[in-house]
Subunit: 214 residues, 2 copies
């Protein structure tokens, strides 16, 4: 049974995972300190990570395993809002986006799919979380679907009780402002079995596995 999984999702001590305003210079807004103080290369497996292989990097490497598609919010794809006026924009990642699978970009504004040579494709979809997940599972061809963020997107899927697994990472810094992962999520923990582990870097890794559906 294909799962919906969240991976390497960095959260500050005060609950923020992104800044409030995304610009071309600041892809995650003012929250970039979430990644700058620690090794935030959250999309690489051990096979491409530099030495040394640390706990953080080993856990990081689960990001792509068994994943056949991603769903992301429009803010993760680019800083634009509203109708697409610049169709030359093909995401932040250049000619080889790291996903290597189909990616569903949630947006109210239609656009033709984009295809890259390395297996990545972007499919722009205006849909509820339920319908987006069904669409992505179809693209994933039996593998799991990663819910790639940002935090508002993860929250939508949590609220709809569609998340089966989350690897969250507490970064021991405060941001003071930003987009919270936890807004409106009181009691979300009741649906999960939660394990946590500290790393020598100061990061705290959480494994949330859903135990109760409903």
């Amino acid at each position: 049974m294909a799962r919906a999984r969240v991976h390497n999702f960095f959260v500050s001590l005060d609950g923020y995972s992104a800044g409030e305003t995304i610009t071309l210079d600041q892809p995650i807004g003012s929250a970039e300190r979430l990644f700058s103080r620690f090794d935030g290369r959250f999309i690489h497996g051990v096979d491409v990570a530099d030495e040394p292989i640390t706990l953080d990097r080993a856990l990081t490497s689960t990001w792509g395993q068994g994943v056949g598609a991603e769903i992301m919010g429009r803010g993760k794809f680019g800083p634009q809002t509203g109708a697409w006026t610049d169709e030359d924009w093909r995401g932040w990642w250049g000619d080889a986006p790291p996903f290597r699978t189909p990616v569903v970009v949630l947006t109210h504004h239609r656009r033709d799919p984009l295809h890259f040579d390395n297996g990545t494709s972007f499919h722009f979809l205006d849909a509820t979380p339920e319908d987006a997940l069904a669409y992505a599972k179809d693209l994933a061809d039996g593998q799991d679907v990663r819910i790639g963020g940002g935090p508002s997107t993860v929250r939508q899927f949590l609220t709809a009780d569609l998340i089966d697994f989350m690897h969250l990472v507490t970064v021991p810094i405060t941001l003071g402002t930003g987009v919270s992962l936890w807004d409106g999520q009181a009691e979300v923990q009741d649906r999960f079995t939660i394990e946590s582990a500290t790393s020598a870097s100061g990061l705290i890794h959480h494994f949330w596995n859903r135990t109760i559906t409903g």
Copy 2:
């Protein structure tokens, strides 16, 4: 630069990783309790692991990442000793050994290579650790080489200072007897940077990255 890596290497509190006598019924001798009390499926990635995805399983999944060949001792391949009298023996693993890469089996007794449909092949070699590693690196085609055990084989490569990385797992049980990973390895830790992390299961994971060569 291709590395030599040890993964998911289970060690009891008293330092044993295998029993003294390997038989057809007991592939790791009397040390099977190392695996029976905990989830010892040490060769599966997240993509094939059952739910839930725990810390233990996430770390387990680094086993095959970026690895292009394995080196194992003869005792890991089978219980026989001396000249090959039963060439029908093709290892413990049936028609689909989990390695999916070339595997170098260290033995003083020649035998023709074995090939399996899933990409696994076994190559029987009488060589020093240095020469075996050079041979395996060639087979690995630029990827890393896993030193697959048993403990005597890992010790040989440690003594020759050929190990770049070890993921060891302390299992909180005592065995009282067996083959020790640590015999003759006094001060081995001086060549490594070591990080450790506890898991909710009671296992303790260690990441040894080599920092000093010589």
